[in-house]
Symmetry: C2
Subunit: 445 residues, 2 copies
């Protein structure tokens, strides 16, 4: 016996992350409890089967199929939910809260959809909710947003928060692989699920964005109002043309203040190859935050995987054991159950630069007609490049246009009109171009 | 009156950082106290003059020249030391601690030299020491090291932690400016002090390294044993040759485990232009941490300046006001007063790759003699390039050699012998080459 205070933990869900968490908690040589100054004791592992738990050699005495019994133990203060999804997980989290247990979760979908209700329920039951592992794996971004950044006024946040997508886009950009091939690779090495829909359509990034933006801007976010585009429609030729212009493509999760409103969106974006997020490649994640005082800070690391995500789970367990997560949850006015709903801007009102690719017939007057349509809506062309035909003249020649900043609504209406022209062979490709966010810091020095 | 709990703050030292801190604390529109849930109230500003305080329009009722009176106030719980240096600052910090006040400081020199004693004194008086602002400005690296990373086993840490040096090296690399010119630029725009010695000799980086490494590795660091090289001897031609080989130069602060010992060093280093720290340019800082579970995480932001550093100071004030800094200080076994002295490796025992430039006479047999000297010590050549003479044949032709990993002691002895050769015109230039640190994570998945 160490003489240290003990905190009991029940782990619900023993897959990749749960298994890694259990290993960290039970390894005797790691010195975890010694470092934290509190014995973090795994009391039970609850699951419907124990395949992973057996594989990693967990003590069978920990295995438990009775959730209620495990949660109800007097010697348990923390329940870790690692089941995923929004159905069973929600029931588990609510049960734990009602039993007076603090909850640590990695469940982004659950929090993006029900964060405010669950926070309110936790508050009512005098426990707290900790969810570092829900966003960007090992990157302590929730800790930053609820720490020093909670004392700042956040102006904007830009994240690469889905490792699967970033891996696929890196492979398409650097190796010229098609989307389908890059996805297969990702699946083969375990970086993409058999059904990758939630990742490649941007939904997973949007979940994380909803969670982070709520804390950063102190607003309740309506998940359904986040504009979401995935990466599954991207073609290698556009990544190549972008690269020619000095841009790389990333799936960005963006939240920024525009007046009193917030613009929240997930979409692929061309960023300059000198942009601070341009070098973030493969399965890594990064989140840039622009604060009024702190200026630009960025947080980088592995966004997924058993051990990195477990590192975040264990960090939360320690924070709850110390009582720090509780203090933040009780005192800070940044939690979604305590905040007003955000005024979320419709994507039509976003101002941005755009990359457009048209497949046009190669004959006189085509440029003029397109330029007129754009000009009628105050969309100003920044660069224009006609490429050699890719697949024979039948498909038209690719014309790449980059615009100056324009209103998304105007771009959409212009492209609608362009697409109807008889000289246009297939629907325009339109990709957002995102510039480095300006820092505010120093404006009142 | 807000009805919120009040925490009183005394600010000692009102220069750039102190002034910015006072502004953040006193601005009524910022909503800081509302966000934190506690009224953070500036009670007094102590200094020997109030030039900055008057410039920024602070309420004169806050001005106070009597340190003892300000610290002794019953309505003050936190003393913020922003005086700098190790003499007066030490007295101020000790006085505050003995008066039972928590101390927030940005003073890296003080902590690097006296961190263990001051921690012990704080512990004895049941107060805590918070020092986020001492390392890397707005980057919440201390928060990360005392948060999630305190639950991990850190293998290595690599930092660019001096904005002045990084600005100078960026200007030398990207604009081909000489060291002297780049330094003048930095001084003109306020990025370098009139006396830049502490920055350009690496001393400031070593201070920060000592503070961060103590927490990361849970060891008391002997500052005097840190190997420190500055950037003031670097020549543009070497940066240019390095660039030809695909490397950029950075002043790195490195701490890594080697067996049970620690290697701690500050020196300029060539890193591949694909290295995760290569893109960190201008006045920005970044710290890479390699943890057993978390893998590689990186923290990036402004390493200096009034507002960014004040953001860290205010973050610490809030953390103390919440009681979280205290919990960490009391419970975690990572503070220097609680840890064993580190076994610090002498630089001679470091293994590294090296960039060497020799100014050799252009005649037969020279290479062979050099190669023999290196070979005798098991130093294996990775690449070799003879350049055109720079300044006429009198100075010899520059021969650039990169080595495979070798023991620093062997390199030094080899270079001693090479420098004595009659064909060598001036002392060899030797620059460390640092490769990306391998991640451990996944090894036991």
């Amino acid at each position: 016996m160490s003489g240290r205070k003990q905190i009991g933990v029940v782990l619900v869900g023993c897959g990749t992350v749960g298994g890694a968490t259990a290993q960290i908690l039970t390894r005797q040589d790691g010195g975890l409890s010694e470092r934290v100054g509190i014995d973090l004791v795994l009391r039970a592992v609850v699951d419907i089967d124990f395949i992973v738990a057996e594989q990693i050699g967990l003590d069978k005495k920990l295995f438990c199929k009775d959730l209620g019994a495990a949660i109800g133990r007097e010697d348990v203060q923390i329940v870790v939910e690692l089941v995923g999804g929004t159905t069973a997980a929600r029931t588990i989290v609510e049960k734990a809260i009602r039993a007076g247990k603090h909850v640590v979760t990695a469940n982004k979908a659950l929090l993006a959809h029900h964060g405010a209700e669950l926070s309110a329920l936790a508050r009512k039951n005098d426990v707290c909710l900790a969810f570092e592992a829900s966003c960007a794996g090992a990157i302590p971004i929730i800790s930053a947003l609820t720490g020093q950044l909670a004392c700042d006024r956040i102006d904007a946040m830009y994240g690469i928060v889905n490792g699967t997508c970033n891996y696929i886009l890196t492979a398409m950009t650097e190796q010229g692989r098609t989307y389908a091939d890059a996805l297969s690779d990702a699946q083969r090495i375990g970086l993409a699920e058999a059904d990758p829909t939630l990742d490649v359509t941007g939904g997973d990034s949007a979940h994380k964005l909803a969670i982070m933006a709520a804390l950063a801007f102190r607003r309740r976010i309506d998940f359904e109002k986040i504009h979401v585009e995935g990466i599954d429609w991207l073609e290698v030729q556009d990544l190549y043309y972008g690269r020619e212009l000095g841009y790389v493509i990333k799936l960005l999760a963006i939240a920024r203040r525009q007046g009193n409103a917030l613009s929240l969106r997930v979409h692929p974006a061309f960023i300059s190859d000198r942009h601070p997020l341009a070098w973030v490649s493969g399965p890594f994640n990064a989140v840039s935050v622009y604060g009024e005082n702190s200026g630009h800070t960025m947080y980088y690391g592995r966004g997924a995987g058993g051990q990195p995500t477990a590192a975040a789970v264990v960090g939360d367990i320690a924070s709850v054991a110390l009582g720090n997560a509780q203090k933040k949850f009780q005192s800070l006015a940044i939690w979604p159950d305590r905040c007003e709903p955000a005024d979320q801007l419709d994507i039509e009102h976003v101002r941005c630069r755009y990359y457009l690719r048209l497949q046009a017939e190669d004959r006189p007057g085509v440029f003029a007609r397109i330029a007129n349509i754009l000009g009628d809506r105050d969309i100003s062309i920044s660069s224009l490049l006609q490429h050699e035909p890719n697949n024979g003249a039948d498909e038209g020649v690719p014309v790449v246009i980059t615009t100056h900043r324009a209103l998304e609504g105007d771009i959409r209406s212009a492209l609608n009109e362009v697409d109807r022209l008889d000289v246009i062979k297939s629907p325009c490709v339109c990709i957002h171009m995102v510039e480095e966010h300006p820092e505010q810091t120093g404006t009142w020095d």
